[in-house]
C-alpha cells in the first residue's frame, strides 16, 4: 500500500481516529499493531503472499534486544563486545544476504532503514550514551514504526523513546500541521516529481538521441525529480507521524541552497549522513589502523598533510559505503558515493588556491551573486553524480556525459525542442509555476516555519491558500486510472 494511494489515506484516517480514541497506555501497542498491518499490505508481501517476511524484522529486533540487555547487564567488556559483534553481524548479515546477495528471498520493506535504526540503538547502549529498552514489544515498535519504514528517516532511540511510548492526547494544531505537511509532500511528489520524471525518463532512456543542453535538461529534471520525490515522501511521512503526535527528525534542509558538496550532505538525507558519521566514520577513525596511520605518513608528508590523508582515506570508506548502501552496483557507488568523495576532497585541497584566486581578482565571497554561483555549482555537481546514479551502467553514464559536453545547442530553449522532451508547453508551464512555488516556499522556510506563518494569517486567507494548494494537487497531480504513479525512488533503497 503506497502512502500516496487512496487506500492508504483511508487506512490512515481510520487509524488516526482509533489512535486518539484509545487510552494513552494502549497507544504504543496500537501503533505496533498498525505498523505490522501496514507491513503486511506492502507490495512485497501483498503481491507474493509471503507473510513470513515479517519474521525478518522481528528476528533483527530480537537479536538487538537480547544484545542490548546483555551489554547493559554484563560486567565484563569482553562479553559486551561479543554481544555487540554478534548482533551487528546478525543484522548486517541479514541485510546483506537479503538485499545484496540476490538469494531470491523476499526482501521486507524498509530493511535498510530499520537495520540502521536498530544498530544505532545498539551502539548507543554499547557506548553508554543511550538507555536500554526492557520491552521487546516497544523495541519492535521503535524499529518498525510504519511511517519510517517507507523511506526513513533513520531515527535515534533517545529522540523517539518519550514520544513513541508515552501516549498522546489529540492536539488539533498538531494534527492540522501534520495534514498540511502531508499536503505539501503530495504537492512535491504528484505535481513536480511525476512531471520531472517524464522528462528524465525520456532523456535517460533515449540519451543517444540527445546531446548538449537536451541532456542537461533531462539530467536536471532527474535531480529535481529525485529531490521532490524523496523530499515529498519525507514530508508525507513526517506529516503522518506528526498527526500521531510523534515528531520525526528532518531528513532535508533545502539541500540545493548548499554552497558546497560537504554542506549539501549536511542538508540531504540528514539522518543517513549523521548515522554514518557517528556510527561508522568516527569509530573508523578511532580504529588502531587509522589512529596509527598519521604517524606512519608523517615522515613523508608532514604532520598536517598526514592527518588530512588519513581523514580522506576514512572518508573514502564512508563514501564507498554510502554508494554501496544505495544499491551495491558501481553506478550507485560512483554516483552517490565516490564522486562526492572526490568533490569534497578536491574542494578541500583546492580551497587555498581558490581563496588566493578570489583575493587576486577582488572577489568578495560573501556577495549574493557569488553565493548563487556556488549553489548553482552544487546543483551541477550533484546532477553529474546523478547521471551515474540514474543510468544502470557506468559506460552509459560516461557516454551520456560525453554527449552532454559534446554539443552546444542553446537554441533548444527557443525553438520548441524543449517541449518534445516529455512535457508539452502547457505541462512545462505547470512544472515551472510549481517549481517557482516550491522554491519560494523553500526560501520562506529558511526564515522560519511556513506553517506557523500561515497560522498567523486570518482564517479566510488561510483557508483560501489551503484550498488552493489542495485543488492544485488534486487537479494537477499525476495519478489515477490510466496513470501509474511511480514508486518513491528511495523506496527502492529501503529493501
Amino acid at each position: 500500500m503506497s502512502i500516496t494511494s487512496f487506500y492508504f489515506l483511508c487506512f490512515f484516517t481510520v487509524v488516526l481516529g482509533l489512535y486518539y480514541i484509545l487510552p494513552k497506555k494502549l497507544q504504543w501497542g496500537f501503533l505496533l499493531f498498525v505498523s505490522f498491518l501496514w507491513f503486511m499490505t506492502t507490495a512485497e508481501v501483498a503481491e507474493s503472499g509471503g507473510w513470513y517476511v515479517v519474521l525478518y524484522p522481528m528476528a533483527a529486533v530480537a537479536a538487538v534486544y537480547v544484545a542490548a540487555l546483555l551489554i547493559d547487564r554484563a560486567k565484563e567488556q569482553r562479553v559486551k563486545r561479543a554481544a555487540l559483534i554478534c548482533a551487528v553481524l546478525f543484522c548486517v548479515g541479514l541485510l546483506c544476504s537479503l538485499k545484496f546477495l540476490g538469494l531470491g528471498l523476499l526482501v521486507p520493506a524498509g530493511i535498510s532503514f530499520y537495520t540502521l535504526t536498530l544498530l544505532g540503538y545498539l551502539f548507543d547502549v554499547y557506548y553508554e550514551i543511550g538507555a536500554v529498552q526492557n520491552s521487546y514489544g516497544k523495541l519492535l515498535l521503535f524499529g518498525c514504526y510504519f511511517p519510517t519504514m517507507v523511506s526513513g528517516p533513520i531515527v535515534r532511540y533517545k529522540e523517539m523513546e518519550g514520544q513513541l511510548f508515552g501516549g498522546h492526547r489529540f492536539d488539533y494544531r498538531r494534527v492540522t500541521f501534520g495534514l498540511q505537511r502531508m499536503l505539501w509532500g503530495f504537492f512535491k511528489k504528484l505535481v513536480i516529481a511525476e512531471r520531472m520524471a517524464l522528462v528524465a525518463d525520456q532523456v535517460f532512456d533515449h540519451y543517444t538521441e540527445y546531446a548538449g543542453f537536451e541532456i542537461w535538461v533531462g539530467a536536471a529534471a532527474f535531480t529535481l525529480q529525485l529531490y521532490t520525490d524523496f523530499g515529498g515522501c519525507m514530508d508525507i511521512v513526517l506529516g503522518i507521524s506528526e498527526c500521531f503526535g510523534i515528531t520525526l527528525p528532518e531528513n532535508f534542509n533545502a539541500p540545493f541552497l548548499a554552497r558546497s558538496i560537504s554542506e549539501y550532505w549536511r542538508r540531504w538525507h540528514i539522518s543517513l549522513g549523521s548515522w554514518l558519521r557517528e556510527y561508522l566514520f568516527y569509530p573508523l577513525l578511532r580504529t588502531r589502523f587509522f589512529m596509527a596511520l598519521p604517524g606512519r605518513l608523517k615522515p613523508r608528508f608532514g604532520k598536517k598533510r598526514a592527518k588530512q590523508i588519513t581523514t580522506f582515506a576514512a572518508m573514502f570508506l564512508l563514501w564507498f559505503t554510502i554508494g554501496y548502501w544505495h544499491g551495491g552496483t558501481w553506478n550507485y557507488i560512483i554516483g552517490s558515493g565516490l564522486l562526492h568523495w572526490f568533490y569534497i576532497v578536491s574542494g578541500e585541497l583546492l580551497e587555498p588556491w581558490f581563496a588566493k584566486w578570489c583575493a587576486a581578482w577582488h572577489i568578495d565571497r560573501r556577495k549574493g551573486w557569488f553565493t548563487g554561483l556556488q549553489r548553482l555549482r552544487t546543483f551541477f555537481l550533484v546532477t553529474v553524480g546523478l547521471i551515474f546514479f540514474r543510468n544502470p551502467r557506468v559506460p552509459d553514464a560516461l557516454r551520456m556525459i560525453g554527449r552532454a559536453f559534446g554539443a552546444f545547442n542553446p537554441q533548444i530553449f527557443v525553438n520548441g525542442t524543449l517541449f518534445s522532451l516529455g512535457l508539452d508547453w502547457i505541462e512545462c508551464s505547470v512544472a515551472l509555476v510549481s517549481l517557482l512555488l516550491f522554491v519560494s516556499v523553500t526560501l520562506l522556510g529558511q526564515k522560519g516555519s511556513v506553517r506557523e506563518m500561515l497560522e498567523r494569517k486570518p482564517l479566510a486567507v488561510r483557508w483560501i491558500l489551503l484550498y488552493a494548494l489542495l485543488f492544485y494537487v488534486i487537479l494537477l497531480g499525476q495519478y489515477g486510472p490510466g496513470y501509474s504513479a511511480s514508486e518513491f525512488i528511495y523506496q527502492n533503497f529501503r529493501a
Binding site: F6, F170, L466, F471, I474, L475, P481
Partner: protein, 357 residues
C-alpha cells in the same frame, strides 16, 4: 479539541466536499453524453412522461422534440454508448428522482451480447456512472457495474479519472455544468448526418429462440421485476439495424420472457414496411445506427405507436413546456438541414468515409 475547532474542521471539510463535487461536475469529459445527462437534470421536475434507455441506437433514432411537437409526448433519452443492460435499472431509478414517468422505453440490443465484453472497457461503464449526480443510487450502480472492488473508488470519486481534464475548467460550456444541470436544446437528440448504405436484413424466417447468456437473462428478469415493483409500464424496443439470425433468435427468446411478464415488445425491423426505413439511405454507418432520414421515420413510428397503445398526456401548450416548444422549432430547422444534407449525399453518391477505408 474544542467546540470551535470541531465546527471549523467540519466546515472546512464540508466546503471541500462542495468544491470537489462542483469541480468534478465541471471537468467530467464534455461531449454529447454529458450534454444529454446534464440536459435531463436541467428539466423541470415532473414534466417528463416517457424515459428512453439503451445504447447508441437510441439517441440518434428517437427525437424527443418530434415526439413532443407531433404527438405531445414528453420523452427523454438517457442513452449512452454500449450501455450495459445492468445499468438500466439504476438509470430508471435516477430518472424517477425528479420525474414521474409513466412509461419506460427500453432498447434491447445490448441484451444480445455478453456483459463481460463491455465491462473490460471502462468508458462504457463510465458513460453511465460518471454522468450521474452523486447519490446513493450512483454508488449502487457502480457496485453493480464494476466487479473489481479495488477499482471502485475511482468511480465513486471520479475526480481520480477526470482531474487531467483541468484544462477544460475555463470553458464556459463546462463551467455551466457546475450543478450538473444545463438545458439540452434538442432534449437529448443527436441528429446524425451522412449516409452509409447497406442491405436490409431478412430474418423474418427465424422463429426459433435462443437463450441469452446467463448474466443477461438474470439482468432481464431483475429488470422486469424492478419495473413491476415500480408500478410503471414498459415498452421493450428493438431499433432497426442489420440484424443477424442468431440475434433474432435471442430477441425471440426475450419476447417470450417480456410478454410473459405482461409487457410489450416492439421490433422496428419487423415493421420496416410501416416505418418506411430504407437500408440504402437511412443509416449513417452501414446498418447500425440511423441518420436524420431514419430518425424521422423511427420517431414518427414510435410516436404513433405510443399514441395508440398508451395513455400519455398531450403536453403541448401546457405551462412549463416552453423549452419543449423551442426545442421542436430548433429541431425542425436542424432536421430539415440534416435531411437535405443526407439527400444531397445520396444524390452525389457520397457515402460515409468509414466505408472507403
Amino acid at each position: 479539541m474544542t467546540k470551535k475547532q470541531a465546527v471549523r474542521a467540519i466546515l472546512f471539510l464540508a466546503l471541500f466536499i462542495f468544491i470537489l463535487r462542483t469541480v468534478t461536475y465541471i471537468i467530467r469529459t464534455n461531449g454529447d453524453v454529458k450534454d444529454r445527462f446534464v440536459g435531463f437534470y436541467a428539466e423541470k421536475e415532473n414534466t417528463i412522461d416517457v424515459i428512453l434507455v439503451g445504447s447508441s441506437p437510441v439517441y440518434p433514432a428517437y427525437s424527443a422534440p418530434k415526439l413532443y411537437g407531433e404527438f405531445g409526448i414528453a420523452a427523454y433519452p438517457l442513452s449512452t454508448n454500449n450501455q450495459r443492460p445492468r445499468a438500466i435499472r439504476y438509470l430508471l431509478e435516477e430518472a424517477q428522482k425528479t420525474q414521474t414517468p409513466s412509461l419506460f422505453v427500453i432498447e434491447l440490443k445490448m441484451f444480445t451480447m455478453p456483459d463481460e465484453e463491455w465491462e473490460d472497457t471502462m468508458a462504457f461503464t463510465r458513460g453511465v456512472t460518471d454522468n450521474l449526480k452523486y447519490s446513493l443510487n450512483r454508488v449502487r450502480a457502480i457496485n453493480a457495474l464494476v466487479s473489481d472492488k479495488k477499482e471502485r473508488y475511482t468511480y465513486y470519486f471520479d475526480i481520480f479519472k477526470y482531474h487531467s481534464n483541468w484544462k477544460t475548467l475555463v470553458l464556459p460550456s463546462q463551467i455551466a455544468c457546475w450543478r450538473y444541470e444545463k438545458s439540452h436544446p434538442l432534449k437529448g437528440l443527436k441528429i446524425q448526418l451522412g449516409v452509409g448504405p447497406t442491405q436490409a436484413p431478412d430474418v423474418s424466417g427465424v422463429t426459433e429462440a435462443e437463450p441469452l447468456v446467463p448474466e443477461q437473462t438474470e439482468v432481464l428478469y431483475d429488470l422486469l421485476s424492478y419495473i413491476r415493483e415500480s408500478g410503471q409500464d414498459a415498452l421493450f424496443l428493438v431499433s432497426p439495424y442489420t440484424m443477424e439470425p442468431e440475434e433474432k433468435m435471442r430477441y425471440n427468446y426475450m419476447r417470450a420472457v417480456i410478454e410473459e411478464a405482461g409487457y410489450a415488445m416492439l421490433d422496428l425491423n419487423e415493421h420496416a414496411a410501416e416505418t418506411g426505413i430504407d437500408f440504402a439511405t437511412d443509416f449513417y454507418d452501414y446498418g447500425d445506427h440511423v441518420n436524420a432520414l431514419g430518425e424521422a421515420k423511427c420517431s414518427a413510428f414510435l410516436g404513433e405507436y405510443l399514441h395508440s397503445h398508451y395513455t400519455l398526456p398531450d403536453r403541448r401548450g401546457q405551462d412549463g413546456y416552453e423549452s419543449w416548444d423551442a426545442a421542436y422549432q430548433l429541431y425542425l430547422g436542424q432536421q430539415a438541414g440534416a435531411e437535405a444534407s443526407c439527400l444531397a449525399d445520396i444524390a452525389d453518391g457520397k457515402w460515409a468515409p468509414e466505408v472507403i477505408e
